[in-house]
């Protein structure tokens, strides 16, 4: 989240799209309702299905799954065409005025630089023209035909009401209502926010859906303000933290980039990943990248990381340039027989990964599998699953008992970036121990083997700093937390020239902020964004429980620790005009007093940007310091464009000759079948959760109270379709895609209504994804037998939300 949960109460218009917040984030929804109670906020729900969120909103607008970019592209068209954009903000705080190079173009669904064979773009033409000093050229009148504003206007001029309505299945009246109401927040004293969840990320175009909304928010001046932002209601208790710490193939802790094979030296890696800006007003905060990265290497390898050996950079694994090794790649390679061993910690991919048939077949190819969890699940038991003969499965499986959440001490980061300390209430039962302790013990054992026997490239294993046990030999989370925060590795004096102060720190003292990290090996920090979670005296700020609220805006600066540097709303300098005066004095997040900022922790101490000498632009993490309406970092183009899902009801994209996202990877094993616009699978299908279960249900299905409330798999079918098919409420049905099928109960409902798409009636159905064969015995199996192995072109987040099925009576 750019903002945080309590801040939802400060909004005037809340667009919930790609989320069923009332059922999946009920406590977050309390703050949404509070906005309605306290500010008279308007609540809008845009979703294929009418849910309990819809019931509590002012109105619900159904749209066909997978057409969100068309819907939001229409909103951009509306905002620009009806002059609803926030001019002061757009001119000063976005790249609207930048001039794009003359070789850039967009034609019939494709941007310049597309390589059809590789399904990839060269981004060489997605660049800005620069002046003699290397600063992007700007046209502050926004009339230059190649300025971002004009190119964007032209791009979205194609997203007319008629076109958008025909693609999405939303009536023109409903489109107008949402566009009008939401774009009314494009003024100084109104805030509009957006809440999304898996309903946006689970698409082949997921990242670009979110970017389209970011463009809307920038045009309306809703970024960096109280009650604004683009807010991911994330779905796991520590998914923010697990992302921050990068249990992911593509990043290292603190969003540092995974090294590529072509970057064979530290110098080349740093050069490639440290952005440069010639504009003195751009803070370009990532110019500090080398400090964060070297401090990370020092946290890993301590004294073994020296300037002479490039701080042990060569010990990190490298990916071939432009390749990915995500979950879907993992199972694809496992299916082909390349992957021999797997750790599956607190996860149940035999239920939760797309294309279950392929995933479960792939697991049979493993030599060994190590599971760590508090309950058994379908992944650990795959060898005795439906249709599997254990006598033919060679895999050695270990299932290691783990402590539950309340049986261990440590921190968890919520979606609003609040890192909260939790305490141990009781011992875990019998032989169960925390996952952290299991990790330590396994690597201890591996280290011991390498020390004894030698082996291939043992250096990174043997030299890894790995002293995170207490005096009794148990996992010490506080020790790890301090290593993540970081230490000074020698006596250091930090001079603040602006304040005229000098502060001394001793070797071994904790680093109180990432601004003090260094690239010469004199500091170590396991994750720079967390540097500051302790103060230099060792006080754990994550454990803070102060209830003061000095701004009255619900920032609670003394409750837990929010990264970065306890900033509660990021890009908050954009809540003020270029002189540092709040756009909305009634919700004063921050104000420049002439020599300092007062309010939330500002995005940097510099004066506001009207000060041409010392002032900085507000979007400090962006190379150019400004919000990116033109976003050249994306895989499928700098402006989001509507493409149909891999599997959909249409054989032609109504907007261009490019049917599907041109940059997605196509997996092509014999189990990766696709049936687009196929009469055998005529219904759009989507998947979702329910309040009582969580994700694959691997925790909640073992709990009698929750299972009693939501006992088994069902498919929701609109009453009109049910009538056509002769299906009655409560009957057993089979839902099938070209890849597989599930049997379940039919729930005939008014919550799904047919869409009118390109002049034809299109029905949509939906199923929860919370069930698996292991428990309960009669609860139904994985909904992901239906879903395809395909994902977003930028993130490889799988497409669980739009694919095609049939429904038949059993």
């Amino acid at each position: 989240m750019t903002n945080h949960y309590i801040d939802l109460k400060n909004s005037d218009v809340i667009l919930i799209m790609g989320s069923n917040a009332a059922e999946h984030h009920p406590i977050a929804f309390k703050w949404i309702l509070r906005a309605k109670e306290q500010n008279g906020a308007r609540l809008i729900h845009v979703d294929p299905r009418y849910t309990r969120t819809s019931a509590r909103c002012d109105y619900h607008v159904p749209l066909r799954s997978g057409t969100d970019i068309a819907f939001l592209g229409g909103m951009i068209h509306y905002i620009l065409g009806n002059d609803k954009w926030f001019k002061d903000y757009v001119l000063n705080y976005t790249n609207a005025s930048f001039i794009v190079g003359q070789d850039f173009y967009f034609k019939d669904g494709l941007f310049s630089g597309y390589d059809t064979k590789a399904r990839k773009y060269s981004k060489d033409t997605w660049v800005f023209e620069k002046d003699g000093k290397g600063i992007p050229m700007r046209d502050m009148t926004l009339t230059h035909p190649r300025c971002v504003f004009q190119l964007m206007k032209k791009h979205y001029s194609r997203y007319t009401m008629e076109k958008v309505s025909s693609i999405t299945g939303v009536s023109k009246e409903d489109l107008t209502k949402v566009y009008e109401e939401y774009s009314a927040t494009g003024v100084k004293d109104k805030a509009g926010t957006e809440c999304y969840a898996l309903g946006w990320t689970h698409h082949t175009t997921g990242s670009q859906i979110i970017r389209t909304m970011s463009i809307v928010q920038l045009l309306l001046g809703n970024m960096g303000i109280c009650g604004g932002g683009v807010n991911a209601l994330r779905g796991e208790p520590n998914v923010q933290g697990s992302t921050d710490h990068a249990i992911l193939y593509n990043i290292l802790p603190g969003y540092l980039k995974m090294p590529a094979a072509s970057q064979d030296t530290l110098a080349k890696y740093v050069e490639k990943n440290t952005p440069k800006s010639s504009d003195p007003q751009s803070a370009n905060y990532y110019q500090n990248y080398p400090k964060f990265f070297v401090s990370f290497l020092k946290a890993l390898y301590g004294d073994k990381a020296t300037a002479e050996n490039g701080f042990a950079y060569s010990w990190l694994p490298k990916l071939d340039d432009g390749t990915a090794t995500s979950l879907m790649h993992l199972f694809d390679e496992m299916y082909k027989g390349k992957i021999k061993g797997l750790f599956a910690v607190g996860t149940d991919p035999a239920v939760s990964s797309p294309n279950t048939t392929k995933v479960r077949k792939a697991l049979e190819n493993l030599d060994w599998l190590v599971g760590e969890n508090i309950f058994d699940n379908e992944t650990y038991c795959f060898w005795k699953g439906p249709g599997v003969d254990p006598a033919k499965v060679k895999t050695e499986v270990f299932l290691l008992p783990a402590s539950a959440s309340m049986e261990k001490e440590g921190s968890q980061s919520n979606s609003g970036r609040w890192v909260q300390w939790k305490y141990k209430a009781a011992e875990a039962p019998d032989d169960a121990i925390p996952v952290g302790e299991i990790t330590i013990k396994i690597l201890d054992a591996v280290k011991a083997l390498y020390a004894k026997e030698g082996g291939v490239f043992p250096e990174p294993i043997l030299n890894l700093k790995w002293d995170y046990k207490d005096s009794k030999g148990r996992f010490d989370s506080l020790k790890v937390a301090k290593q993540i925060n970081g230490h000074f590795l020698k006596d250091t004096v930090i001079e603040d020239k602006a304040k005229g102060t000098k502060t001394e720190f001793k070797k071994g003292q904790l680093v109180p902020t990432f601004g003090m990290l260094a690239d010469d090996g004199s500091t170590a920090s396991g994750n720079w964004v967390m540097a500051g979670s302790f103060d230099a005296a060792g006080v754990n700020k994550m454990a803070k429980r102060g209830k003061e609220d000095p701004t009255g805006l619900g920032l609670y600066p003394n409750w837990s620790y929010a990264w970065p540097v306890n900033r509660r709303i990021i890009y908050n300098r954009a809540s003020c005009d270029i002189n540092g005066k709040p756009y909305n004095p009634k919700r004063k997040l921050l104000e420049w007093t002439g020599d300092t900022w007062v309010g939330d922790v500002p995005d940097g101490p510099w004066p506001p940007q009207a000060d041409r000498q010392k002032g900085k632009y507000p979007f400090i993490m962006k190379q150019d310091g400004l919000g990116a309406l033109f976003g050249p970092g994306m895989a499928e183009g700098p402006f989001p464009e509507h493409y149909e899902p891999l599997e959909g009801p249409l054989s032609k994209n109504p907007l261009s000759g490019q049917l599907i996202n041109p940059a997605i990877k196509i997996f092509n094993s014999d189990l990766d079948k696709v049936a687009n616009a196929d009469e055998k699978f005529p219904y759009v299908c989507t998947t979702y959760s329910c309040t009582e279960h969580w994700c694959s249900g691997a925790l909640t299905r073992w709990q009698a109270w929750l299972l009693e409330a939501m006992p088994e798999l069902y498919v929701e079918i609109g009453d009109q379709l049910a009538k056509e098919k002769g299906i009655e409420n409560g009957q057993r049905v089979r839902v099938s895609s070209v890849r597989g099928n599930v049997e379940c109960v039919a729930m005939v409902t008014k919550r799904f209504r047919p869409f009118l798409v390109e002049g034809k009636t299109v029905h949509q159905v939906g199923l929860p994804f919370n069930y698996g064969w292991l428990h309960p015995k009669d609860g139904g199996d994985s909904t992901n037998f239906l879903t395809p192995t395909v994902g977003d072109a930028n993130t490889f987040c799988p497409e669980y939300k739009a694919f095609m099925v049939n429904v038949t009576k059993i």
């Binding site: 209601l233 060569s314 061993g341 291939v456 799988p798």
Partner: protein, 195 residues
């Protein structure tokens, strides 16, 4: 047969009220359950209270665990009224948090092992399992290690071991897994943040 109020409701719901009443005794069940609630309130008042954070969605609601001072066991978990986000309230899953403690009969308590071609789990001890896992990890890594790619660039990676999970454990545990994976050269690293 010890019947809690919740257990009574579940059982009577499952069996049908007539059967339940005849098997449990018409009056005794509810009375016992009520007494149990009173008893629990007294225990809460004398318990050690420990704060924690919910383990489901990412809102980060605060909870209070009541721990019996004599047994060291958690016997009650409820929303933390001091917590600024949830203000004491919880959703259905959070309200059922207690069912994740060792009171849940399905909790894993022992190291389990399934041998090749076997149709059952067998109990093992930690030392045995760790030794065997380390052996498998080392042998798989050493055999499948890629020092250079097709272009001849140094990549030093292990392509034959994958690591999945988890966003359902604490930050400190995430960081340890993240760096342990890198030290072994793993690149097939992923978890729920992507799904």
């Amino acid at each position: 047969m010890e019947i809690t109020r919740r257990g009574f409701l579940t059982l009577s719901g499952a069996l049908g009220s007539g059967v339940a009443l005849s098997s449990l005794g018409v009056n005794l069940g509810p009375a016992k359950a009520y007494a149990a609630e009173i008893n629990k309130m007294q225990r809460v008042m004398t318990a050690k209270q420990v704060t924690t954070v919910c383990c489901y969605c990412s809102v980060g609601c605060g909870l209070i665990c009541s721990v019996d001072k004599n047994t060291g066991k958690v016997f009650n978990i409820e929303g933390d009224p001091e917590h600024p986000i949830n203000e004491g309230s919880l959703c259905a899953k959070g309200a059922g948090f207690f069912d994740l403690t060792e009171a849940n009969k399905y909790r894993l308590r022992k190291v389990l092992y399934r041998a090749p071609m076997s149709d059952r789990w067998e109990e093992k001890n930690w030392d045995w399992a760790l030794e065997r896992i380390a052996r498998l990890v080392k042998d798989t890594r050493d055999k499948g290690f890629v020092s250079k790619n097709a272009k001849g660039e140094v990549v030093n990676r292990c392509e034959t071991i994958g690591h999945l999970g988890s966003s359902n454990v604490d930050n400190e545990e995430c960081w340890l897994m993240s760096v342990a994976c890198r030290s072994m050269g793993l690149v097939y690293i992923d978890h729920q943040a992507r799904v």
